[in-house]
């Protein structure tokens, strides 16, 4: 749990170093595997879960494939600490709500996280900054192969890797990108784009994965199909479509800048003003205002504020992060005040460039 003491530590995948990182926040590859000889999560007994955990940890301790590895057991966390991990994209809601015997292994500056005893015995996840699914795949694949050499995975000659839910069977691979599409939303083309991608084997969700609403014009696009294509084909497909969406978004932003320049500038600078001076602010408002700021930075309207900083504010202004920073579960009013303080701190050390903008 020393992980939680380093709450100031910034996940490497937030550093906006990857390609197209002004539009794509991060890329992620997740592989689902089950260990041979045990029942799946719906029927598994606690002793089996413990055994799986021990076996996986033994392999990791022996081979040490993950740098800076930490282990967290869900049973030892308070609810707000669980949500903290969720906000950092390290765990899923499934792990939090159902798996008291679940654990997560984190390493490589938060770029690798492996959930044990979630919906499947093993969920290997690799996250990268910006648009780089292939880098994630290389890391996830390497980890999967290393563990696979030591522990046998459930596999069927026809159906491939076996998972608790048939929607993951085959490759067990879920690739996704977190993408910011304010241009398409403002030009009202987003419905068309989203409808289009749902017809070609992709799906989209709100910023925090399954079951969340879309906030701040952030979308998570992932593959729906996991069987019938090779891993590389699935990834290439997602890369190709995401590339097209990025282009559509850039076009939409160019149109907005040309036809509605003052409207956009106004939106951006109002957001800047509120974030810099508000004394109390809700999580939802921060998300929506950050969306405008992000657009402003991408369109070079704001100088002195990097995308990487915006990414940080996005994560650190979330509810559970504020709770962990305060060391306890805050009530909503306190949280909104603390949130405003955190947000202002990020703005106060950026150079103000409005005067030079004219």
């Amino acid at each position: 749990m020393d992980l939680l003491k380093n709450i100031k530590e910034v996940p490497a995948w937030l550093d906006a170093s990857g390609e197209h990182s002004d539009i794509v926040l991060s890329s992620r590859i997740r592989l689902a595997r089950n260990i041979k000889g045990f029942t799946f999560s719906t029927k598994i007994k606690p002793e089996e879960e413990e055994q799986i955990r021990q076996e996986v940890l033994a392999v990791l301790d022996r081979e040490k494939p993950i740098s800076g590895m930490s282990r967290i057991d869900m049973a030892e966390l308070k609810p707000f600490e669980c949500n903290y991990l969720l906000e950092k994209h390290l765990v899923s809601t499934d792990l939090l709500s159902h798996r008291r015997n679940g654990s997560v292994i984190i390493g490589d500056k938060f770029r690798v996280s492996m959930m044990i005893n979630e919906e499947d015995h093993l969920r290997i996840q690799s996250i990268a900054s910006g648009f780089d699914l292939n880098a994630c795949w290389k890391k996830a694949e390497a980890l999967e192969e290393l563990i696979g050499k030591n522990l046998e995975y459930d596999f069927h000659p026809k159906f491939g890797y076996l998972t608790s839910c048939p929607t993951n069977t085959g490759t067990g691979l879920r690739g996704s990108v977190l993408i910011h599409l304010p241009g398409l939303v403002l030009t009202k083309e987003i419905q068309k784009v989203l409808r289009g991608i749902s017809q070609i084997g992709l799906t989209f969700r709100g910023l925090y994965g399954e079951g969340s609403e879309v906030l701040g014009n952030f979308f998570q696009i992932s593959n729906q199909v996991t069987i019938g294509k090779s891993e590389q084909e699935l990834i290439d497909h997602l890369v190709q479509i995401t590339g097209q969406i990025i282009e559509h978004e850039r076009n939409a932003r160019a149109i907005l800048f040309k036809d509605a320049g003052y409207y956009i500038q106004d939106k951006v600078w109002r957001a800047y003003g509120i974030l810099e001076y508000a004394r109390t602010i809700s999580g939802e408002e921060v998300m929506n205002l950050l969306s405008a700021i992000r657009l402003g930075v991408s369109m070079k309207l704001i100088n002195g504020l990097s995308v990487s900083k915006i990414n940080q504010i996005l994560i650190f202004s979330q509810d559970a992060h504020l709770d962990v920073a305060a060391g306890r579960s805050l009530d909503p009013a306190e949280r909104d005040i603390n949130r405003a303080i955190i947000v202002r701190s990020y703005f106060s050390d950026t150079e103000k460039k409005e005067a030079k903008d004219e």
Binding site: F40, T42, E145, G148, K149, T169, T171, I227, G228
Partner: protein, 172 residues
């Protein structure tokens, strides 16, 4: 809005029908719609991930309902087909083998394919791929010969398929 029929559940199915020259619209929940004979063909992909348990449940019950003689209990986890239907989940790896036929149909329905073409660490993909392709071709030929009523050929093909499948079992 609430279902017009039972007035309890949320109406998720909105139907407009032209009946006897009049336009009639229904706002029903899933259960009442099914009772009326309407099957939800499209779901709102913007509201939920495509294969929510609800949808799988629907597909599963359609498939399983038609094969009422299928009993069968998984030898490893003691799961019955009913359990899978209700939870939308498999109990263990053995379930995939025990209920192979139903799984095959299910995967083809919800994923468009039941045939893993990805990697398998430990064995090269082409080896696994090659056998499966061969079996598929043989099965096609078998159906043809049955249609042409060449039962001798069909029997030979069936034996060939069986021995290939056995060989694959051992290779695993």
């Amino acid at each position: 809005m609430k279902c017009e029929k039972c007035k309890k559940n949320e109406a998720k199915i909105h139907f407009t029908q032209i009946k006897d020259g009049k336009v009639v619209s229904y706002n029903l929940c899933k259960e009442c719609a099914e009772k009326q004979g309407f099957k939800a063909v499209k779901f709102d992909s913007e509201q939920q991930p495509a294969f929510a348990p609800e949808t799988k449940d629907h597909v599963l019950s359609e498939l399983i309902g038609e094969e009422s003689e299928v009993t069968g209990v998984c030898a490893f986890c003691h799961n019955k087909l009913d359990d899978i239907k209700h939870s939308g989940r498999m109990g263990c790896a053995q379930c995939y083998f025990t209920f192979e036929k139903q799984t095959d149909v299910l995967l083809r329905r919800i994923q468009g394919s039941s045939f893993h073409l990805g990697k398998h660490s430990g064995k090269p993909v082409s080896e696994r791929y090659g056998d499966q392709i061969k079996i598929r071709e043989l099965k096609k030929k078998l159906n043809e010969s049955v249609r042409e009523e060449d039962y001798e050929k069909a029997a030979r093909l069936r034996d060939e398929i069986r021995s290939l499948e056995k060989r694959m079992e051992l290779k695993k």
